[in-house]
Amino acid sequence: MDARVTNAVNYPAIGQGRGVTEPHWDKTVDVSIENVVRVFGSTAALHGVSLDIAAGELVALLGPSGSGKTTLLRILAGLDEPTSGRVLFDGEDALKLTVQERNVGLVFQNYALFRHMTVLENIGFGLRVRPWSRRPSRKEIKHRALELLDLVQLSGLEKRFPSQLSGGQRQRVAFARALAIEPRVLLLDEPFGALDAKVRRDLRRWLLEMHNKTGHTTVFVTHDQEEALELADRIVVMSEGRIEQIGTPDEIYDRPNSPFVYSFIGESSMLPVRIEKGKAWIDGHSLDLSVDDLVSGPAQLFFRPHDVEVGDDLAGAIPATVQGVRRHGGARRLDLAVVGRDDRVEIELPADFGVEISGPIAVRPRRYRVFPAPAQALSN
């Protein structure tokens, strides 16, 4: 675990209300999700999801729409209840707590700022609505809200209304508002989804800084892999209500463990192959790939377009002809037709690599995975 994960919440904790001990959390919690199932009517949004999140960790729930990531986040927040399963905060059953008692900081894609309140009133809201015994004084609330405004680098905007702020500023106010209640967990639902690309990049960096400073356990939902790869300590890739893979960004990107993760994260090329006698074959060519313990039959070879070596006579390589060449940023994209097959694959080579159209080329993936072909492909 890297250095920025700490348990300490660095900003000063708030006073003790009006002399009554308030249950305030200066520590963020670890979160345990055990076999959570959520069924809506006759369709299951989550099929038994289990996940452990360490205190102070920044975890991304990544998946396409309908993968169940938002449902999981809402269950953590207490805005939805699982059909079965358990959710623990520091080992304590969180499902027994109402959304109010759960004390989580929620940030929405559309900010959900209260439009009739100023920035300062928005940030102080969570403190103002506390029961009298735990409510800080008016002065203290203001002081605290100003402090948070400073933390999110918006000092001077306290009297503005949300409609007078840019999208990025609104999201930072929403963030400050969520931090004001000293949340045990921060839950961000597509926090940068409504912002344009430039602001989104800036805010990502900003979020990392914030996380370094405050050290809250943070779970954020996103469908943007770039965002997940850049921000998260760990990424949870979800698809159709199941967790496909959990891992660090490097693990997820370099060692995807399923065809879904391969095709969802980053770019990938897929080529149908056959496994026989412990080797992968394309027509008559045996490929120099380790296929370990795969059973004989149709299979799929996945690799990253840029993770290949090419040559004219590489042993055990895929024989192909160049169909097209395109410039792609600092590199060149080649469309290849596998010899004797209809299959096309795409690879990426340095821009200075000389290629001729229709010329032969042999390609050998450097990093790859071979998966058994799904049932659908078997019937073809």
Partner: protein, 294 residues
């Protein structure tokens, strides 16, 4: 294509009038028709109300609106509105909250039923209550046995008024609340606010102008309602006569000056309502539901 047809297009490029702008004679005719209708059917009658009201002099005017039966009618009208409007605010809030924020069986049914009073003739709304609570009505016998009088008394007038006016608040709030969704409420709850705190600090402020708009319209209708109230009121002078009914009685007695004097109060109410309505529409257009039906 003739030159005349091309000319406006050329003009529109340089000076900017929209291509949909009509030629001058057409515009004059359209505006004349519109203004004539406005004067004939709205301004003239309105002016007539005030002219007739003051025809017999200021003294007669004051006398007409301060004589005991008129005062009783004014009081009754205010009382009915004071009961019916808050009742409709509560109903409107509850119904639009339910429709906008929850999914339940029969939701579209409820949504449709709210509009029912708009499509039912007010007289029928009055007759419904007579059939239910009148002496010959379904509950009439039981009510008489318990000495509860609904028809030809205040409760009947209030019921009929509520029935006629109940779409006004709900109709304003439903589209707005649907558009606003539940995100703000979820945010408030997650920040620790209780249900009531969420309602009073978040939901209500979000809809306050639309609510006020609905209340103004509801109030105008409640005070001006004639048909439904006429059926259930019994027209007992000084007791169950509302202002519109009082106007009718005076008029039928050929007491035109007094009739118009009381009518002028109603007309004044209409004007005040109009001003508030326009102000709200101008100032808070974005916060008032987009569907303008009335």
């Amino acid at each position: 294509m003739s030159d005349a047809a091309i000319a406006p297009l050329l003009v529109s490029e340089t000076r900017g009038p929209a291509v949909t702008t009509e030629r001058l004679p057409v515009r004059i005719i359209l505006i004349t028709v519109g203004v004539t209708f406005l004067i004939l059917f709205l301004l003239l009658p309105l002016a007539a109300v005030f002219v007739e009201a003051f025809r017999a002099g200021l003294g007669a005017y004051v006398a007409a609106i301060t004589e005991p039966d008129a005062v009783a009618a004014i009081k009754l009208t205010l009382l009915v509105a004071a009961i019916a409007v808050p009742a409709n605010v509560i109903f409107g809030l509850a119904a639009s909250w339910a429709i906008a924020k929850f999914d339940f069986v029969g939701k579209s049914m409820l949504n449709t039923l709210i509009d029912l009073p708009f499509s039912v003739a007010p007289v029928i709304s009055g007759v419904i209550y007579v059939l239910l609570f009148g002496l010959q009505g379904i509950f009439g016998h039981w009510l008489q046995g318990h000495h509860v009088q609904i028809i030809f008394a205040l409760p009947g007038i209030v019921l009929a008024t509520i029935f006629v006016t109940f779409p006004f608040v709900a109709r304003e709030l439903v589209p707005l609340m649907q558009e606003q969704g539940t995100l703000d409420e979820e945010a408030a709850l997650s920040l620790g606010a209780s249900g009531w705190q969420t309602f009073f600090k978040v939901t209500l402020p979000n809809i306050r102008w639309a609510l006020l708009y609905g209340v103004v319209l509801c109030n105008a209708r409640a005070m001006g309602e004639f048909g439904a109230v006429s059926v259930v009121s019994g027209h007992i002078r000084g007791k169950t006569n509302t202002m519109p009914l009082h106007v009718e009685i005076l008029y039928n007695e050929y007491n035109f000056a007094a009739a118009f004097a009381v009518a002028s109060l109603l007309a004044l109410l209409a004007l005040i309502t109009l001003v508030i309505k326009i102000t709200l529409e101008w100032r808070y257009a974005d916060q008032i539901a987009a569907s303008r039906r009335h």
